[in-house]
């Protein structure tokens, strides 16, 4: 059924495209409408997006989509702030999930649902949101409206060095915190033990994942989704459990800390070079890590992110960013932007995006397509994240929190974890203090919007 729908969609798309080509040929004197797209990548992901834009421009000659790359999500946020003040905003901006509440408060964007109305296609490109996987849809649905276009969604997974695990007599990579600790004990007791057992970046994202896994919310008012969040729960039991476990892993010499916050590169480096036996990081690095490790003759296997066995596993959040439509655009620019976003996320492109990077295939039809091509059998490391997300239960906690000053609250969490590891201290006390700080940030921010 789904394949047929896809087939029909493709046919409809082709018909519409040729129709559009005729129309474009008809009004050839008219220059194509410029549609600017800003994304937060500068590597091969930017190249991919540019290739796709060129392909799109060829199929829809009435538009000229240009893609510009920025260093990271924070940088693109600042650039957008400035551009909007100066009335030089692009049509589409890739915006990270923790900036969602801020974007809503600042009034930068128009929801995709509003822009679409009740249309089922734009320029012949079908709108079928039912095809998106559920956690993605629920994350980007705000106040019951589909707000932004999902694009690069990822999930943290465990990368293990099979050779080291084998040597320590561990058959399957650990699934829980407790198993990780037991495995580390064995690994570090090896005569030729690696420098460390496990690492992951000290980044708020991992903490948030572990909160979600334990079905614990970060903030009140339904994690900030039913109403503006006014109180944080960083001092809750699940939160302290994370801090305690993390700290004890460091104390026992199992967890390797690079000394820098948000140090994604160090984690990638450590697992690729065999410096550590295991690493937890984004599924978006699956391609890079697996390939780079292979060059060092290291076999990597990926499994789901370990969870706290005492509280069980409810599910994981999606991470990454989505594409947002800037408000108050001229009608034809908005149409072009919508068309490009829908087209970029069609079944084939979503599947290709996954293959190139390791981001989740966000459409069920894309997953099916990949399955039919035997992709997951050949590349089992790419299946883990989809499997993890598709088995997650969608609850208030796993839908993710919406907080105005979310990036700053993340900084409080990473700073607290760093202090706990480098200077020691009582996790409960540290988290209580962090909560106080974070609540103050929240109150300051909220005071502008009450």
């Amino acid at each position: 059924m789904n394949t047929r729908r896809t087939f029909l969609a493709v046919v409809a798309g082709l018909v519409a495209a040729s129709g559009a080509a005729f129309l474009a040929a008809d009004s050839f004197a008219q220059s194509p409408t410029d549609v600017k797209v800003w994304i937060a990548f500068t590597d091969n992901r930017l190249d991919w997006a540019r290739e796709k834009a060129a392909e799109f421009n060829e199929q829809f000659p009435q538009y000229n989509v240009t893609v510009e790359g920025y260093g990271n999500y924070e940088e693109i946020q600042q650039a957008t702030d400035l551009a909007i003040q100066q009335n030089a905003a692009p049509a589409v901006v890739q915006w990270f999930e923790v900036g969602t509440q801020r974007a809503r408060d600042f009034g930068y964007f128009k929801s995709i649902a509003d822009a679409l109305g009740d249309r089922t296609e734009v320029n012949g490109i079908p709108v079928d949101f039912d095809d998106f996987i559920e956690p993605v849809v629920s994350y980007y649905t705000l106040d019951g409206k589909f707000t932004s276009m999902p694009w690069n969604s990822s999930s943290p997974i465990l990368y293990s060095n099979t050779a080291i695990l084998e040597k320590a007599g561990i058959d399957t990579p650990p699934a829980t915190w407790q198993e990780v600790e037991a495995a580390c004990e064995k690994i570090m007791a090896l005569p030729d033990a690696p420098q460390g057992c496990i690492t992951w970046p000290n980044h708020g994202w991992f903490y948030e994942q572990w909160m979600a896994q334990q079905d614990a919310v970060l903030a009140n008012n339904g994690n900030g989704r039913e109403g503006r969040a006014t109180e944080l729960f960083l001092d809750s039991e699940p939160s302290i459990a994370i801090a305690s476990w993390w700290q004890s892993m460091e104390d026992q010499g199992y967890y390797v800390y690079s000394g820098r916050q948000r140090d994604w590169a160090a984690t990638e480096q450590a697992i690729q070079t065999g410096t550590v036996a295991m690493a937890i990081t984004s599924s978006a690095d699956a391609a890079n890590i697996t390939n780079a490790a292979k060059e060092n003759n290291i076999d990597i296997v990926t499994t789901r992110m370990p969870y706290n066995a005492e509280t069980g596993w409810t599910g994981n959040l999606i991470g990454g960013a989505s594409l947002w439509l800037v408000k108050d655009l001229p009608k034809e620019v908005e149409e072009g932007a919508l068309s490009f976003m829908l087209w970029l996320n069609n079944t084939e492109n979503a599947a290709e995006w996954h293959q190139v990077t390791g981001y989740l295939p966000i459409r069920e039809s894309s997953v099916k397509l990949l399955e039919s091509q035997g992709w997951f059998e050949e590349n089992p490391n790419f299946y883990t994240a989809s499997d993890q997300i598709n088995n997650s239960t969608v609850t208030t906690a796993t839908r993710g929190a919406l907080l105005g000053p979310f990036p700053q609250i993340r900084d409080v969490i990473t700073q607290t974890m760093e202090d706990l590891m480098l200077k020691g201290g009582d996790p409960a006390q540290a988290m209580a203090q962090a909560n106080q700080q974070a609540n103050q940030l929240l109150a300051e921010y909220n005071s502008l919007y009450n």
Partner: protein, 400 residues
Amino acid sequence: MFGLIQILVPLLAGLIGAVWVGSRFRRMKRSGLVGAACGGLAGGLGSLIFMAPLDFCTFEPERNWIDAVFGVGLVLVGMAIPLGPLLAWTQQEYHRHLGIRPTPPQHKGIFKQWWLAWLFLLPTLTILVLFLYYPGLDTFRLSTLLTFVGAPRSRFVCVDNFTSLLTDSTYLRSIGITFAISAAIIVFGLTGSLLIATLAYQPIRGATIYRILLIWPYAISPAVAGIIFFIMFNPLGGVANYVLSLVGIPRLNWLGDPNLAPWVVIFASVWKQMGYNILFYIAGLQNLPNDLQEAAAIDGAGAFRRFLSITVPLLSPITFFLVITNMTYAFFDIFGTIDLLTAGGPSGSTSVLIYEIYKIGVSSGNLGKAAAQSIVLFLMVVGLTLIQFRTTERNVTYGG
């Protein structure tokens, strides 16, 4: 809205100004009444410089005593702005009255038309106003607001951004770190540079090549220096730990240990600035009079004694200059090195004030707090420079 305080403060300030300037005028045998009027006006208006834009918010009943004390301070600083020059002028006039002429008569300008000079100054002034004075003044406005980058809304918070710094443990710690790191950079940087410069100044074969090689690190940008040291002191694959392992010392987590990381920052910053210091010291050494050295040598002073008792004091003007430039460097310019080397970590141990401002203002986008912090940092550097000019200059020998 005019409450009691809005009338009382300028009135009191005016009274102080009137009495002070009035008495000065009397001393000059001029009309005390005119003086009192001038002083009263200056004091009264001066007290409003900060208080009028703040609308006397520091004295509102719901604010605590710290805010009130801060407000009094602001009133006093505001009064000093017009009263200071006025009092200085009366002092000068008084001296003239006594027949002392401390200042020579002023030269007449070269330009016949007064506007010609302004015309030539115009391009510079335009740039200064647009890019220096206007943002500078706007910083004061921002420092009274709760506002975020890009946010369409902001809220007036009086002097909260300043007074909250007093209880902000991260900020207070950052002050200590800044002074410690700066002091270390100046002390190690200058002593090291002086020793190397003395060696490089010796008449040896290939001295020019050595000097060029020594000065070369100065041409590197702070960011590149940060990356070089980041790679060298990388705990896992860095060359620093490799060297240690050769002599059997266990690996050190250079950048991950809050006690070690500041030293890596100091080392990198000193290395980076050394070329500049050496350049000045070699130039200084070349200008030293030889006769003193010879005389001391005849008197039987050894090389070390001559260095300490003659070379070092004679170089004091250069040392004084370098202390100030190095201090500015340590306060502001090591930002790039820190950002790439430690990003202020681990555990905030290398987060100097300028980096703290960056974190608050750019990373967190809290413009109000960052503005307040940059004003405090600005005042600190101004204060330090003034203290240095006052104290050090007395001990500096300019020769002659």
